[in-house]
């Protein structure tokens, strides 16, 4: 045990480990906040869909040879998020189908482009690290960490300020629209925040596992808590703890960061389900 702490202390001397922990925790916090809304709006898979869009956009950026990928990836992802959430309500192709379509489509195009035009010799390695985010979180630069911190602060601030409005729009969109809340505007806001979070989170867990960061905290909290506020708070706290734990474990055991965090999330979900079942049993 003592040896473990020593090893951990030694690792924390490195700035890249500190960076990884900071970004990991912040991203987990942001994604869990909106997770509750997304799960309730039946958009659990939007994380998946958008991250694949971001993957496709990244491939395009790489092919075009942009030095700063974010310039292309961020706008494209935001655009898709807006389209998906806006058309989710009243269209010929329903929410889940359109998410699935865009998600798979972007993934295929992205891989195709990378395959056709890639200059790198290790193509499957590149693809794998974008999909599973293998090591990129450990190679973050100081600027990237700062960008992440700033964006996270903005996301959290927006969420807190618009908390009541987001609740309204999530619970009953027609009612809020009818009584004069600008539901369309807030949906747009939610879509933009989600896109920002997803592009950020790609560094951490890669595009295949982002949904886990969005869904697990929300679903776990919903097993136990009864009010929207307590569910949101619990999801945020749980997500932060799980990702911190996941990063520490992955450093100690040398496992991939993204999948370790998700594994910890799964364990936590099981724990919460059990607690919920026991609490429910007592009440009955």
């Amino acid at each position: 045990m003592a040896a473990m702490f020593e090893k951990l202390a030694a690792y924390f001397e490195f700035s890249f480990v500190q960076y990884a922990l900071i970004t990991g925790v912040l991203i987990a916090l942001c994604s869990s906040l909106l997770g509750v809304t997304l799960v309730l709006k039946r958009f659990s898979f939007i994380g998946d869909g958008l991250s694949h869009v971001a993957f496709g956009a990244m491939a395009v950026a790489a092919v075009v040879g942009l030095t700063n990928e974010m310039l292309l990836v961020m706008p494209i992802t935001i655009l898709c998020a807006v389209l998906l959430l806006r058309t989710g309500q009243n269209t010929k192709i329903k929410g889940d189908a359109s998410v699935a379509m865009i998600s798979v489509g972007a993934l295929a195009i992205g891989y195709l482009l990378m395959n056709l035009f890639s200059s790198s010799s290790n193509l499957s390695g590149d693809v794998c690290s974008t999909l599973f985010g293998s090591t990129s979180i450990l190679t973050l630069s100081k600027t990237e960490v700062w960008m992440c911190v700033i964006l996270s602060v903005i996301v959290v601030a927006v969420f807190v300020l618009f908390y009541n409005k987001i609740f309204c729009v999530t619970f009953d969109e027609s009612f809020s629209k009818a009584t004069g809340t600008k539901a369309g505007l807030y949906n747009l806001l939610i879509a933009i925040i989600i896109a920002v979070i997803i592009v950020l989170a790609m560094n951490l867990v890669g595009s295949l596992l982002i949904s886990a960061l969005v869904i697990f905290p929300a679903l776990s909290a919903m097993r136990v808590f009864k009010s929207f506020k307590s569910v949101t708070l619990c999801a945020a706290i749980m997500s932060v703890c799980c990702s911190a734990l996941g990063i520490i474990i992955s450093i100690l055991a040398g496992t991939p960061v993204g999948s370790t965090i998700v594994a910890v999330d799964i364990v936590a979900f099981a724990g919460f389900s059990l607690t919920g079942a026991i609490l429910g049993g007592i009440k009955k």
């Binding site: 309730l40 009541n164 619970f171 809020s176 629209k177 009818a178 009584t179 009864k226 506020k229």
Partner: protein, 236 residues
């Protein structure tokens, strides 16, 4: 000036007209029941009144100092709401949202308003309970309390008793009737329950192949009213 007047409105989806040239007025304190067969456009009409849907022709005008956003709305429940983790208080309070404008949090006055609405609906003791654990009748009362937070003038109810058992149904009608008579709130209700419509309503709007608008007595005397009430086994 009427609170709400519908002037030559035609409604429809995708260029197909369902309702043609509909006109009626609602005055303060009225209790209007909108009846008609399935697919006759009742819900579309309701959405149009709320401003969620624009009419193909004609217009809906509000008067007497009523703004369109001051219409309280009791929607039919959606699937999403059935398992929504929210406390009763949070939901009732969300009815005050439109008053907030850009202000991020609720103030004391709005909290007071929510408390009064819960008191009126007899759900104060449920305030901390989770919405999804309540019975159908209790859920409807929560949503009605939320609608009361949004308005003091007009309530629009979309089949408020569907899925409720007979005892709770009677209770629900009594609550709505009380709001209408005691608090002077105008009620516009979509209903399949013609017997209840005949008992409580002051005015009837019947839409479908033939359209009728008038007071309850006029409706009972009209051919369409007689046909409909006999068929449905109305009790009057």
């Amino acid at each position: 000036m009427a609170q709400l007047s519908c002037q030559g409105v035609s409604l429809g989806y995708d260029g197909k007209e369902i309702l043609h040239d509909l006109s009626f007025t609602v005055n303060e304190g009225d209790y209007l029941c909108i009846v008609g067969e399935n697919g006759s456009g009742k819900s579309t009409l309701m959405k149009t009144i709320l401003g969620l849907h624009s009419p193909m022709k004609g217009k809906i005008v509000t008067g007497d100092g009523l703004k369109q956003t001051e219409i309280g709305y009791l929607p039919q429940q959606t699937v999403v709401q059935k398992d929504f983790p929210a406390s009763v208080r949070e939901i009732v309070l969300s009815g005050c949202q439109a008053r907030c404008g850009l202000r991020p949090f609720y103030n004391a006055e709005e909290k007071q308003l929510a408390a009064e609405a819960m008191e009126k609906m007899n759900i104060t003791h449920l305030a901390k309970r989770c919405y999804r654990e309540l019975s159908g009748g209790q859920q409807q009362r929560v949503l009605l309390a939320r609608a009361l937070c949004a308005t003091r003038k007009v309530l629009l109810l979309d089949e408020p008793v569907s899925g409720l058992d007979p005892k709770v149904t009677v209770e629900m009608y009594r609550l709505i009737h009380e709001l209408n008579v005691r608090d002077g709130i105008t009620v516009i209700m979509i209903s399949h329950d013609i017997a209840a419509a005949m008992r409580y309503a002051t005015h009837i709007l019947h839409i479908g192949k033939t359209v009728f608008f008038g007071t309850k007595l006029e409706y009972m005397d009209s051919d369409i009213g007689r046909g409909f009430t006999d068929e449905e086994g109305g009790e009057e």
